[in-house]
């Protein structure tokens, strides 16, 4: 690993993995993974199919418990804290394939994003913010979310995640299943959310596009971090170009 991967040195990481290992039953998935996400960053985790990207996100969120190593939130080890603790403290996930509550209305989906919040005014305020961000969502509030188009579902999925007022948004392959025309738009949206001060941890197979907007990135291969560097360095890395960017 390169010694200078471009990460800020003098601030506490918002979310961190220290030598994390996870297992599904006897199958070893993540192997000694080190990661750190700092406040306000936009970082990405690249990797092929079944390399353990989704598992990384689930472990960060506490849906999977590591067998060894530490998950650290704001300097505190949270291995044994439930998902709700992490959500309350600003960690939220946009799941793979968006996974809306299909038979519930758009409004209900958004409200469920704020499930752990009790501040009525704050929730109403955030709803308005989301309507401002996605006017199309506002038009479809009472519609069953399963009947939305792919792009609209993505908006609701992101809106639902924003409803918990995250400090870091974990996004599992946000461009997967979107029409090519929407992918670019989607990345712009991610940048916009990022510019509002939300840190983004994005998991992608679409390495080129992801690295073009990210500050830093990691490459995961069968559960092991094989590269950890700045986005520019990764983009220039011949090894990565060969295996992930479809060249060579």
């Amino acid at each position: 690993m390169s010694s200078d991967n471009g990460s800020p040195k003098d601030v506490t990481a918002l979310l961190e993995f220290r030598q994390v290992n996870t297992h599904y039953g006897a199958v070893h998935i993540l192997k000694d993974v080190d990661l750190a996400i700092y406040p306000g960053e936009l970082v990405c985790l690249l990797g092929g199919n079944a390399s353990g990207k989704s598992t990384t996100l689930k472990t960060l969120l506490g849906m999977v418990t590591p067998t060894s190593g530490e998950v650290v939130l704001d300097g505190e080890v949270v291995n044994n804290k439930p998902t709700s603790y992490r959500v309350v403290n600003g960690v939220t996930m946009v799941p793979e394939n968006r996974r809306l509550f299909k038979r519930l209305s758009v409004k209900e989906n958004l409200e469920l994003g704020a499930y752990l919040r009790n501040d009525k005014e704050g929730i109403a305020e955030d709803l308005e913010k989301i309507y401002g961000l996605f006017p199309r969502v506002k038009e479809r509030l009472s519609q069953k979310s399963g009947t939305l188009s792919g792009g609209e579902q993505q908006m609701v999925a992101i809106g639902r995640a924003l409803m918990s007022r995250p400090r870091v948004l974990l996004m599992d392959e946000p461009s997967m299943g979107l029409a090519p025309a929407l992918v670019q738009q989607n990345f712009e949206l991610i940048q916009q959310i990022h510019s509002d001060g939300v840190a983004i941890f994005m998991v992608e197979q679409n390495a080129n596009m992801a690295l073009s907007i990210a500050d830093r990135g990691w490459v995961l291969q069968t559960g092991r971090v094989v590269l950890d560097d700045t986005a520019e360095a990764l983009l220039a890395n011949p090894e990565l170009r060969a295996s992930y960017l479809g060249e060579g």
Partner: protein, 603 residues
């Protein structure tokens, strides 16, 4: 063929012959199966219109109507202009009916020539007499082919006739059927109001409507139906669209009317009707509980009867002097506290291990638990405590000071169960709108994502189990007080299944639906052991429950009374599609939605 072709426009002959044949076979096959099951002959005893029409014939005649209707339903391909209904479909219906009638004729010939009584119990001269109308084979065959053809045609024409006609016909036929089925209730009620003459006027001495009354009532209903066309819809729509205070006011009025009816009506009803109402109440209470578990939280619990048993046995042990091991002879009210505690504990014990399983596994394991609990109560091992197969007898009624609730006075039992049902409805209603209710909805839709939102899925699911368990246990407690004894045989697996059917048929996750489902199914068909209004159905109850379940799952998965939200969802698909067809993806016109709505509802 050529003569026919000359008479009819060619479109009538451009049939999808495979479809006609398939539905004709289905129609004939169902008719034969129905006859061999013995339903028509047995139901022949029940008159609908005196001397002219029995329930047996109704059950047979319904088949070609349905087959004609279904066969004439065209498949609407997504994104294609739908073809106009017309002559083509009418001919389809007619042919399907004729084929069905042909099936019955074949059965008649077979009945006459061979004796297959040995494997087929209902292969009897009685069936032949039923089919031939005691008028000889030739007449029978001809009559059935013509009748079925006409009915198939009628079924198919339901698609073609204007909506008003369809509505009037449906209301008159259903109304007359209901009036006849409700005969004992109506007679009982008119006796209570000292209006015996009214019942005598409507019903024949030996049961069933008289021909005159059927005609008069039918005409009256037709006129009313034609006049009120569209109004009922408008009123319900307005109610659905109300919001906030206005809605609350309307709900209160509605609730008050229902409450007054529930309290006043039983006073004018006799013993049998009150008994029936009490049974409906007991099952309604169970269904409300299961509705929370299955409808709201999406946990398919097939062992729900276990909690019913826990409530019954707890009450019996704590209140009966005959309890074999420990007989504190508590008052019913005091024992209720323990009923709640034990139900909650058993809910946790059963819930904890199964809660991490997904859908189908959960169903199978709970099914097992349900049986285990019953077998435990029946076992010799626990016999010294719970009486084994002999159960616990001599459970006292509920002494309220001014009155005693006991089985010999079913009216009091009804009021007791009504009290619990009101509690259950209130609790369900509040829970639905609560934070826990929203967590249940999310879990039902996608458990993993719900977890990612920070919802504690394990405790939310356990809560659903516990709330459901307590409601079922209340029902068991009432059962113990009503029957005066408790046996393991009251808690067969069948109870779980029937309650599930009630919930599904009524409309999962919807209180009004569960109410309607219990009243219609338990009231008319009857519970697992309890007779309903149609006692003649006793032997076919399970068959009908099964058919209903399959039919509802296929054709109307949202239940008889879909919740406002779910029906909105359904229509959304339709009008979105319509809008898309018109090349207008965004501009959704209100009128369009309206008509789409009405069309769907009236089918």
């Amino acid at each position: 063929m050529s003569a026919a072709a000359a008479l009819l426009p060619s479109s009538a002959l451009h049939q999808d012959w495979r479809k006609v044949f398939r539905w004709g076979l289905i129609c004939g096959g169902s008719l034969i199966a129905l006859c061999l099951v013995g339903m028509p002959v047995e139901l022949d005893r029940r008159e609908i219109v005196e001397r002219y029409l029995s329930l047996g014939y109704v059950s047979v005649l319904l088949v070609p109507i349905c087959a004609g209707w279904v066969a004439a339903t065209q498949i609407v391909l997504e994104g294609f202009e739908s073809r106009k209904q017309g002559l083509y479909d009418l001919v389809t219906g007619l042919l399907v009916g004729v084929l069905g009638g042909g099936g019955l004729s074949l059965l008649m010939v077979a009945l006459d020539s061979w004796n297959l009584r040995d494997p087929l119990v209902n292969w009897s001269p009685k069936l032949l007499r039923f089919l031939t109308y005691e008028n000889g084979m030739g007449f029978g065959a001809g009559a059935w082919i013509i009748t079925c053809g006409v009915l198939g045609l009628a079924g198919a024409s339901l698609h073609v006739v204007p909506r008003v006609v369809r509505r009037v016909v449906a209301i008159v036929l259903m109304g007359l059927l209901a009036l006849s089925v409700l005969e004992s209730a109506v007679s009982d009620l008119s006796e209570g109001f000292r209006l015996e003459w009214l019942a005598d006027l409507i019903y024949a001495k030996k049961g069933g409507l008289t021909l005159t009354s059927a005609l008069v009532v039918g005409i009256v209903m037709a006129v009313v139906a034609a006049l009120t066309d569209g109004r009922v819809k408008a009123v319900t729509n307005r109610y659905r669209e109300m919001e906030g205070m206005e809605r609350q006011k309307a709900s209160i009025v509605l609730f008050a009317v229902v409450a007054v009816l529930c309290i006043v009506l039983p006073i004018f009803l006799g013993k049998i009707m009150n008994e029936l109402l009490a049974n409906v109440g007991i099952f309604l209470l169970l269904a409300l509980g299961l509705n929370i578990v299955v409808g709201l939280a999406g946990l398919l619990d097939l062992g729900y009867v276990a909690f019913f048993a826990v409530g019954g046995y707890t009450t019996a042990v704590l209140t009966s002097p005959n309890s074999p091991w420990f007989a504190p002879e508590l008052h019913f009210g005091v024992s209720l506290i323990f009923v709640v505690i034990f139900a909650a504990i058993v809910g946790l014990i059963i819930g904890a291990p199964v809660i991490r399983m997904r859908g189908d596994y959960l169903a199978i394991v709970t099914l097992g638990f349900g049986e285990i609990i019953r077998l435990l109560f029946m076992s010799d091992w626990l016999g010294p405590y719970f009486g084994g197969a002999q159960g616990i007898t001599n459970v006292p009624g509920v002494d309220l000071g001014f009155a005693t609730v006991k089985g010999t006075d079913p009216r009091s039992v009804f009021y007791l169960v009504l009290f619990f049902c009101v509690i259950a409805i209130y609790v369900s209603w509040r829970l639905q709108a609560s934070r826990l209710g929203r967590a249940w909805m999310a879990i039902r839709e996608d458990e993993q994502v719900a977890e990612a939102m920070g919802i504690n899925t394990v405790s939310a699911k356990l809560m659903a189990f516990v709330v459901g368990a307590v409601l079922a246990a209340f029902s068991g407690a009432v059962l113990a007080a009503k029957v005066g004894s408790i046996f393991p045989t009251s808690f067969m697996i069948l109870v779980s299944i029937i309650i599930l059917v009630v919930v599904i048929v009524g409309g999962m996750g919807n209180i009004a639906g569960v109410l309607v489902g219990s009243v219609v199914l338990i009231g008319v068909l009857g519970g697992p052991k309890q007779p309903g209004l149609l006692q003649e159905f006793q032997n076919f109850k399970l068959l009908i429950y099964g058919i209903l379940l399959v039919f509802m799952m296929l054709k109307r998965p949202e239940g008889l009374v879909p919740s406002a939200r779910r029906s909105r969802e359904l229509h959304q698909d339709e009008f979105l599609q319509d809008a898309w067809l018109k090349g207008d993806k965004l501009g959704i016109d209100d009128d369009e939605i309206e008509t789409g709505h009405v069309e769907e509802e009236s089918r």
